[in-house]
């Protein structure tokens, strides 16, 4: 079959990224031809500033070398600007007469710098800052001339000024507005930035209106003249007063343009269905984006349509900004200026060079502007995108996520100040140097890509903030994926919430029906979505939906915890952490009989037998004769207790009995993630109730209940939830909380993350303010748990496939 022809006009980041996405999903569909006006292969335009500053070379910022085009059978025309397109004959024409036919056309013409329409703008030595040619012109000028003037104190202008200054020029930045980067910074942070750039030697003329550029007798610029008649000397003038979508060609061939080539959510132009457009030239819902993350998202969507999959929709992006001037940290996102109806939280330390402003509206974070300390930028950006209520964390908001006890990277919070040999990811032993190298060499742009290639932040995720900073510094990109809704995995576009909602609304009972209704692209999902869907089904429709063991992770399939050598660990249940001589004797006998190499007491007050062979599991369970401890499952694990009033001279309540009652009432409870309880008999809190999913603390007058604690990756102190009088109340409230989490939580979301997503107020409303709703939740949990089997003994009922414990054959 003859292949269709795809022509890409514009060999830049957005267009080539779209091709890469297309080649991933439909490598054989098209004969591809690429036209680029510049004589270079696709390079990372964002990194021109580090090149200008002498921190990187042109070769280092090339994303797709010429060989890449050849390897993918792409015909590449460099240095050939397309000047016309015949839409009827479907032919593009280059300046030099080269022609190419197309079936589909991708217009990625990018943007043009805005040149101030002043006299003298065409003089020699007056340039824009847009491409490799401009960058080389500046580098060359710096070797010959002394005075540079940059017109425009925005992102690009300041990066240019910084680079020229580092190359030895005396630089003046002319800015018409009262402070720098007014589209990204407020006046305070803008002035802090100005001060720190002044300290480096850059001069500023604020509120200055350029009237003309004065030339010398050779036609080269020599000065900039302002409206008030004053002049500053200039051998080089860089126009960095903004960019405009480059729509010249699109307009010429009759495509509808309005501040960009107008496209719909599939990135198809509204005028010609054969023509698509992504990147800075495309206007989507009235916005032409100039940052890399939105462009890549657009590329991904566009690729699915070019590949005839027709699934993706681009729905716009929220963007954030960082300045790529080494040593200067600033971050802004959203509505950082505030205004009517907005509240501001501000922390300002001008001498320390730190400024943070958070803008809140209707109890949601709507904007952030930070200078000097930006490590929490990505966290604020996440809160902003998710639009979640922040009332419950408002008092901690300013201090950021990183101040709440991350472990695993020595407390580092500023990636820039780390040495290359410092470990960023403590789980996988990945250093800063390794990550930066991978980002540069493999051309990585997103957190997902760094995770895949380096494994950094791929395990526990506590170093995510650091990795994002490294991406920012190294790839220069706006790293963040912008969709407010995140797909569950690569198999689908549906989010966890979409799937939960559909299962409930449409009474879905099987994994296949979910896949069908939510448009799964894979026949049986993957190891990440299938266990989630299985959990959603059985938690939403208990006694109706059938548990599928093959959709469970091995630990929940074999009811033991797999270890690094392929053996398993066995942890029998000890109610409330109490045991007896006969239980201990049976455990000891089993250890001898099955030659268990390691016996360990766990943090949750249980006994762990490590190194049990899979073939022995069923027998060891039988010999020990104690219930499954579910220490392998996303389920209620242990209820840790202190001795309590029965023995302790300080105890005010019988915490052990309370713990036993809670455990007996709620064991076998599957949940989105593991669940741990603790009960302490007095505020000395020996059972560490403050870092458990549900912590109960006895006081003289009753029980205090805490929720959402976590002793793991990020030590999270549980929130005080409610004060209760009786043990019955403790059971009811704990059960209701667990059921709410079971019904609303996303798979693999611990209670702390669930609460941080929905807000503690929501949980309080459902459980504390609504007595009938609370009782209904508690009843639903009891209904779910009623008659649930112990998987160690009731194999059939628990759908344990016992064939797994014996080999199918031997040779």
């Amino acid at each position: 079959m003859k292949k269709m022809k795809l022509v890409l006009v514009g060999n830049g980041m957005a267009g080539v990224r779209t091709l890469e996405e297309l080649l991933k999903i439909a490598p054989e569909l098209y004969d591809i031809t690429v036209f680029g006006a510049e004589p270079h292969p696709n390079y990372n335009r964002i990194l021109l500033s580090p090149v200008l500053a002498g921190e990187q070379t042109i070769d280092e910022i090339v994303l797709n070398p010429i060989s890449w085009y050849a390897e993918n059978n792409i015909t590449l025309h460099l240095g050939k600007k397309i000047v016309d397109i015949d839409r009827r004959r479907r032919v593009v024409k280059a300046e030099d007469g080269t022609e190419a036919e197309y079936d589909r056309l991708l217009m990625c013409t990018g943007s043009n710098p805005f040149i101030l329409p002043v006299p003298g703008k065409d003089l020699a030595g007056v340039i824009a800052y847009r491409d490799i040619h401009d960058t080389n012109t500046m580098i060359e000028a710096a070797t010959k001339y002394q005075h540079a003037v940059v017109i425009g104190g925005g992102l690009l202008g300041l990066e240019a000024a910084n680079g020229l200054m580092l190359r030895g020029m005396q630089v003046t930045v002319v800015h018409v507005m009262p402070w720098l980067m007014e589209r990204q910074l407020d006046d305070v942070s803008g002035k802090l930035l100005q001060k720190s750039l002044e300290d480096r030697g850059i001069k500023f003329m604020m509120g200055a209106n350029t009237q003309a550029l004065i030339g010398d007798k050779d036609g080269r610029v020599m000065a900039v003249q302002f409206k008030d008649g004053s002049e500053v000397p200039a051998d080089l003038v860089v126009m960095a007063a903004g960019i405009r979508p480059n729509t010249q060609l699109a307009e010429k061939i009759g495509l509808h343009c309005n501040r960009g080539i107008v496209v719909d959510d599939t990135m198809q132009t509204v005028t010609d269905p054969r023509i698509y457009s992504v990147g800075e030239c495309a206007a989507h819902r009235g916005i032409a984006y100039g940052l890399v993350a939105p462009l890549f998202e657009q590329g991904k969507v566009c690729a699915t349509h070019l590949a005839h999959f027709g699934i993706g929709r681009y729905q716009g992006s929220l963007t954030s900004t960082k300045l790529k001037v080494t040593g200067i940290d600033l971050f802004s996102a959203g509505n950082f200026m505030g205004g009517e109806g907005c509240e501001e939280i501000v922390m300002s330390d001008p001498y320390g060079g730190v400024y943070k402003k958070l803008v809140i509206k209707d109890d949601k974070l709507v904007g952030a502007c930070m200078y000097g300390d930006t490590v929490d930028g990505s966290w604020y950006f996440k809160l902003l995108r998710e639009g979640r209520k922040v009332g419950d964390i408002r008092d901690k908001l300013m201090f950021g996520e990183s101040n709440i006890g991350d472990t695993g990277h020595e407390g580092h919070s500023r990636a820039a100040s780390m040495a290359d040999s410092d470990e960023v990811c403590g789980c996988n032993g990945i250093t800063k140097g390794t990550i930066c190298k991978a980002i540069k060499e493999k051309g990585l742009f997103t957190l997902e890509e760094v995770k895949k290639h380096t494994k950094a932040s791929a395990s526990c995720g506590s170093c995510t903030g650091l990795v994002e900073q490294l991406l920012m510094f190294t790839a220069g990109g706006d790293y963040s994926k912008a969709p407010t809704k995140k797909a569950m995995c690569g198999c689908t576009d549906a989010s966890h919430q979409d799937v939960r909602d559909a299962i409930k609304a449409d009474h879905l009972l099987t994994i296949d029906s979910v896949y069908k209704s939510q448009g799964w692209r894979t026949p049986n999902g993957c190891a990440s979505c299938r266990p989630a869907v299985n959990y959603y089904l059985i938690s939403t429709w208990p006694k109706e939906a059938k548990d599928d063991p093959q959709s469970r992770y091995i630990n929940e399939r074999s009811h033991a915890n797999i270890q690094k050598d392929g053996t398993y660990s066995v942890i029998p249940r000890m109610w409330g952490g109490e045991t007896s001589a006969s239980e201990l004797r049976r455990i000891a006998d089993a250890v001898d009989k099955y030659k268990v190499p390691t016996v360990k007491v766990t943090g949750g007050q249980r006994i762990d037998l490590l190194g049990v062979k899979k073939e022995d599991l069923v027998n060891i369970w039988k010999d020990i004769g104690m219930p499954s401890g579910h220490a392998y499952a996303k389920a209620l694990r242990t209820v840790k207790t202190c001795v309590g009033s029965e023995w302790c001279r300080f105890g005010t309540q019988d915490s052990t009995q309370m713990g036993k009652d809670l455990e007996r009432a709620m064991w076998r409870m599957y949940a989105p993630h593991k669940v741990k309880f603790a009960v302490s008999g007095c505020p000395r809190n020996c059972a560490e109730s403050g870092i458990k999913d549900v912590g109960i603390i006895g006081v003289d007058s009753g029980w205090e209940m805490y929720v959402g604690g976590n002793g793991g990756i990020k030590t999270e102190v549980a929130h005080f939830f409610v004060k209760l009088k009786t043990a019955e109340e403790v059971l009811e409230y704990t059960g209701a909380f667990c059921q709410l989490y079971r019904e609303e939580g996303w798979y693999l979301e611990r209670t702390v993350h669930y609460i941080s997503r929905v807000g503690l107020d929501h949980v309080k409303k459902k459980i504390l303010d609504d007595a009938a709703g609370r009782k209904a939740l508690w009843e639903r949990l009891q209904f779910s748990l009623d008659g649930e089997p112990d998987p160690w003994f009731e194999h059939d009922k628990a759908a344990v496939d016992t064939r797994q414990f014996t080999p199918v054959g031997a040779v």
């Binding site: 993957c526 091995i554 040779v811």
Partner: protein, 118 residues
Amino acid sequence: MSTWKSICTVDDIPVLGARRIERSQGAAVAIFRNAEDKVFALLDRCPHKGGPLSQGIVFGESVACPLHNWTIALADGCARAPDEGCTPRFSVKVDGGVVHVDVDELNSIALDEAPVST
């Protein structure tokens, strides 16, 4: 010349699951069955850290290793990019619902690979 030996029926393997064939020498061999009843055999060792692939979640024509979630293609035993590495594959044929393996292969491939659990 292959020496085929019947080892089990297709139904002895769970759909989207696996079973193990023990070998007198070398690591066990995992036989997988996918949703379309296709049967595959790989050495039961992930090329990454030796995880028992027979214990992983099977989807499409892949299995996710239970230890660190590498995705291994059932057809050729190779890890999905950007991960790198392959585990040996073994021939299987299904005849009238009965799974056959090649004894010569089982007795000759990857014998020095120690079993996962030792």
